[in-house]
Symmetry: C2
């Protein structure tokens, strides 16, 4: 296999990370800038491109393009659409086109969860799989879904938003304006809300790490909070299994690292609620990508899967 390189960029609400990755998944230098320092996409891109140039310590002839993971990114149009956490994307920003203009390189963009799924397929545990999901559990709940060997983009490039499917009709108010989205229950914010409800506010508003520490000490409210969260996730993933018949579901993101206090009730609820022909057949596992590298490997995998020769 001829060695090729892709620039990988992960645009987040706080930091924009970047680096060079080769087609075996090796990372060649990386860095980050504060996203909030840039009010225009052009300025962020120009700075990231300059930093990327400084990191090149390999044969430039092998560069195949740029892959970007970003919230609310549209694979079909190359634009970021109204991302609430990105100052520079309060309207529709043609991020991929600008990056190509600045760098002279081809650029593809997709949302961060899709990038994580592409990374899982190219470098992780989903190699050889055609039907699987990656669910990212962090500030929000994202999902990247493969069906029949292809990323599910839908008619407009924005499909695969499991985080905004309804778990509880009339339930908690979501940032998207609707009620009861699973993201409001199974995410870092969801966990803290459930803890507040479980304790009736008597222990204050704790951060997930504090709730996890309490659970490890045997605190019954903390354990109950993880149990409720895990059961919601397991139940909802069983509905996803009825829709997608995946070979496996991979979890990534900070909340996925909570351990058995979350995963054990999740697996039980999942198995209990699978259709009979699926029982015992669909694996749920943690992502095979190193946590710190998932986003960049995913973005690079997007570039390789789009531009590799």
């Amino acid at each position: 296999m001829k060695k090729q390189f892709a620039a990988a960029v992960d645009v987040g609400g706080t930091n924009t990370k970047f680096g060079w990755v080769d087609n075996s998944g090796q990372l060649y230098g990386s860095g980050s800038v504060k996203t909030g320092e840039f009010s225009r996409a052009e300025d962020l891109i120009t700075r990231v491109h300059k930093e990327l140039q400084n990191l090149i310590n390999f044969d430039q002839s092998g560069i195949c393009g740029i892959g970007v993971g970003a919230p609310n990114a549209n694979y079909h149009t190359g634009c970021i659409h109204y991302a609430p956490n990105l100052d520079f994307a309060k309207s529709i920003v043609p991020f991929a086109s600008i990056f190509t203009e600045v760098s002279g390189l081809k650029c593809k963009i997709t949302n961060d969860a899709n990038a994580a799924a592409i990374g899982e397929k190219i470098y992780g545990k989903a190699q050889g799989m055609n039907d699987f999901m990656v669910v990212t559990l962090g500030t929000g709940l994202g999902s990247g879904i493969y069906t029949g060997g292809q990323v599910l983009y839908g008619s407009d490039g924005m499909a695969g938003e499991m985080g905004h499917t309804c778990l509880i009709p009339g339930g908690r108010k979501c940032g998207c304006g609707r009620l009861g989205c699973i993201e409001r229950y199974v995410s870092i914010g969801g966990l803290t809300t459930t803890f507040l409800e479980t304790t009736e506010g008597q222990k204050g508003e704790l951060r997930p790490r504090q709730i996890q520490a309490l659970a490890e000490e045997g605190d019954k409210h903390a354990i109950q909070t993880y149990k409720i969260t895990g059961e919601y996730l397991g139940l909802h993933l069983s509905s996803m299994a009825a829709l997608f018949s995946p070979e496996a579901i991979f979890l990534s993101g900070g909340l996925a690292q909570s351990g058995e206090v979350l995963l054990s009730p999740m697996r039980r609820a999942f198995e209990d609620n699978l259709l009979s022909h699926h029982k015992g057949k669909i694996k749920i596992e943690l992502s095979g990508l190193e946590k710190q590298k998932t986003a960049l490997l995913g973005a690079a995998a997007l570039a390789f899967s789009s531009f590799s020769v």
Copy 2:
């Protein structure tokens, strides 16, 4: 376009219907037998094949194969898996293989809702669409889903079961053994249950047609029953829209013919619950296929899409 013919078979719990269809969607003779009279798939197939032979009144050289729609049918394996309403399929029955053996013709099988979706794409309103859903509202709730121009079959050929995704955690007991499946709320049985709940049983257990007649007379309980049912459907379809970003959703089956008493609250709940970038962009319409012919056209379309030269 060279004229070709497919045998179309629709296996239902009560009747098995069959006929010949050409590639323009014209039906050349049809018939039906009582499914319950046959305790073995071989006997049903032999009988249907004989009846189909008797119906041939065209040039046999144009026959390309057989398409079958059936509950719990697996496209990948050609088998019907444990269909509760089919006496001959209490285990795994290799329906397509048996049909090929008996007839000498190639045979493909899929579940009835997938067949309806293929029919919609080839003969109905989904021509030219790559991302859409067909939802069949009858005794149960079935769905056939196209993503990226392909039917969603998943890793095991059994994907696309929207009917068994959870609407209300811990809700009504479903025939599949789980709680809260949307099929228990949005289907003929679901409507009658909701009417019982709405009237607190004071008007007895009425059939959908009686409930519809009451609604047309302005009965507030009957109207409320359709409103609840429509709102459940609209809410759940908005979650499907977040997942699949379809161009359109088509409704078929008896309950879909209820008119505005169902469709108007459904559309309102759907629009209210769409993600902002989808609002006003995803059509929900009745199927473009004639109600009586949907199943046979779908089965024929499966054959043409699999075998047509």
